[in-house]
């Protein structure tokens, strides 16, 4: 089975996101970068499926040259190969252009049975690239997967559990498919020293627009219909109040406050 895992490098949540007050853009320099948390589950699931059914896992990312670090982590976790999409022409991509560019990279990789993405990235929080990519590739779309029950490679079937609002849906479809995964699907492994060394030695090709068989007008800023026109820091939450006193008194004060604001009806 040939599996592609799409990953994104994002600023660490621990780091404070700051804005450049003059330019009105985000300051990304000096902020620690990590693999998007949901993508770690995607990598792990790809590697586990490879261990179960055989085949290979290829990690793909689009981003600046330092996104190679994210791909190295995927390799250290057990991915066999990696490719980085990095070029000035890809800069400024929104979700439409990103899904388009990734789809061309996946087509370049030949026959693929399964693409795995994290549910969403923690910087943009859009959850749009997975479904967009499935449409571009013409693959079956399986979002919010919390368990892969079974894959039948000969019959080209996959059975998954999807975490929806009211419960878990068990769905079967045919391969090739694209699934986005949630945290519940597995516990990502910590790479050991040997695998980290192997990852460090693995060559990661960098692909630009000339390496992809696509429409140049659909890349990067030009291919992105949405434009961010303003970013701002939301007003901080109004100062809170610590309720003091003995427990029954404190609770009474709280309930009075909540019912006077009609948050609870008692």
């Amino acid at each position: 089975m040939r599996i592609v895992v799409c990953i994104k490098q994002v600023p660490s949540t621990e780091a404070k996101v700051q804005m450049d007050p003059v330019k009105g853009t985000l300051i990304r320099e000096g902020v620690e970068s990590v693999v998007n948390p949901f993508d770690e589950y995607a990598i792990e699931e790809g590697v586990r499926l490879k261990e179960r059914y055989g085949g290979e896992v290829i990690a793909v990312s689009m981003g600046p040259p330092q996104a190679k670090d994210a791909l190295r982590q995927a390799l250290a976790m057990g991915a066999d190969k990696a490719a980085l999409l990095s070029d000035r022409a890809f800069a400024g991509s929104d979700t439409l252009a990103t899904a388009y560019t990734l789809s061309l990279a996946i087509k370049k990789l030949g026959e693929i049975d399964l693409v795995i993405c994290g549910k969403q990235a923690t910087d943009g929080d859009t959850a749009q690239v997975g479904p967009g990519l499935a449409q571009r590739l013409g693959f079956r779309q399986l979002t919010y997967v919390c368990k892969v029950r079974e894959i039948n490679l000969e019959g080209k079937k996959i059975v998954v559990e999807r975490l929806l609002d009211e419960g878990v849906q068990v769905a079967e479809t045919t391969l090739p498919a694209l699934m986005t995964v949630v945290k519940d699907i597995n516990q990502p492994r910590l790479p050991n020293v040997i695998s980290i060394r192997r990852a460090a030695r693995t060559e990661i090709p960098i692909w630009g627009p000339q390496d992809l068989n696509g429409d140049q007008a659909k890349f990067g800023f030009d291919g992105s219909p949405t434009q961010v026109v303003r970013i701002f820091t939301p007003p901080p939450r109004a100062g809170g109040q610590i309720l003091e006193g003995e427990v029954p008194e404190v609770v009474s004060k709280l309930l009075d406050a909540l019912s006077s604001q009609q948050v609870i009806s008692i």
Partner: protein
Amino acid sequence: MALKVIKERCTGCGLCVQVCPYNAIKLSDENVAEILESCILCGQCIEACPMKAILMEEKHGEEATGYRGVMVFVEHEFGRINHVSFELLGKGRELADKLMVPLCAMVMGDGAKDMAKEVGAYDVDEICVVDAPHLREYQTNPYVREAENIINEYRPEIVLIGATTLGRDFAGALATRLETGLTADCTGLDIDLEKRLLLQTRPAFGGNIMATILCPYKRPQMSTVRPKVMPMPEKVTKDGAHIIEIEPISTPKDLLLSILDFIKDTAGTVNLADADIIVSGGRGIKGPENFKMLFELAQVLGGAVGASRAAVDSGWIPYAHQVGQTGRTVRPKLYIACGISGAIQHLAGMQTSDIIVAINKDPEAPIFKVANYGIVGDLFKVVPEIIRQVKERKAKSAVS
């Protein structure tokens, strides 16, 4: 610019081939019109096509013309309409009025005509209805195909979709098929009247930053909108909306998934996305057995139970309850955090709640910085006391 043939609509009648002065159209092997390189975009075929199957696909700056109106996607689960769709009808009305254009809704499902009546109770001008048995339960492929067909026919300038589990599965696929811009999880929508553009405002980086996003050249401008942010509109008693029945273009063969089973979440009676009140537990709960107390509090308040990552990773409660960066983002009217320190990853999932109450024994816990009301104390004393007093007040009000 280029011409685009909507394959689903082309009947292969060949009228376009006859009118083309440049022999730039032929019928393909599948008997569908195909535009050739020699096309000079005169547009005669667009006029000639009785099925409206040929469209001019325009480049930047020119594409925005020819689209008019605001369209709301009505989401439902087995015929039960999600409240976010009504909220969008309210917001959609406001946007449509500013632009002085009609507000439309699209409803698809088995029994969609009945759902359209419910939708028509609100102030909406037109409702596009696709009623077919195979649309009973949402699936990406047939729903996206029907929506694409409706949008290509009615060409709304704005399409609004709920930023729900279902809505985000649907919107990402639909926007890609339409090759237009989509802005996720908006919490604010307005119109720039001068440019007639939709101003879409949304949180990013877990709510630390807000961004306003435009889709200047492509149409429709599409947004998913976070539930419970826009107010519910009033119902109206006027002559009802104009119902437009549309023949389905999808068939049961378009159901690409076989649904083998659905395992309902038995732990929570109300799901987190819908709950007005959420009672959440963290590391301070100390063990799975103590979540019973939170379920009881949630029950007396009529809410749902959430949890921090620490509680979920300790195996005390299933992942479906996790609130935060790697769990769900929630925005209830009331969020009660019990024994949750308030790590930034947790705050990212709940800091836009209307009112936050924090109960924690550590006065330095960061959760108190976002809480409207803080109680520094032992949650094992405070929570049972809240339950007791709520029950007492309810009993009193029942008597009086």
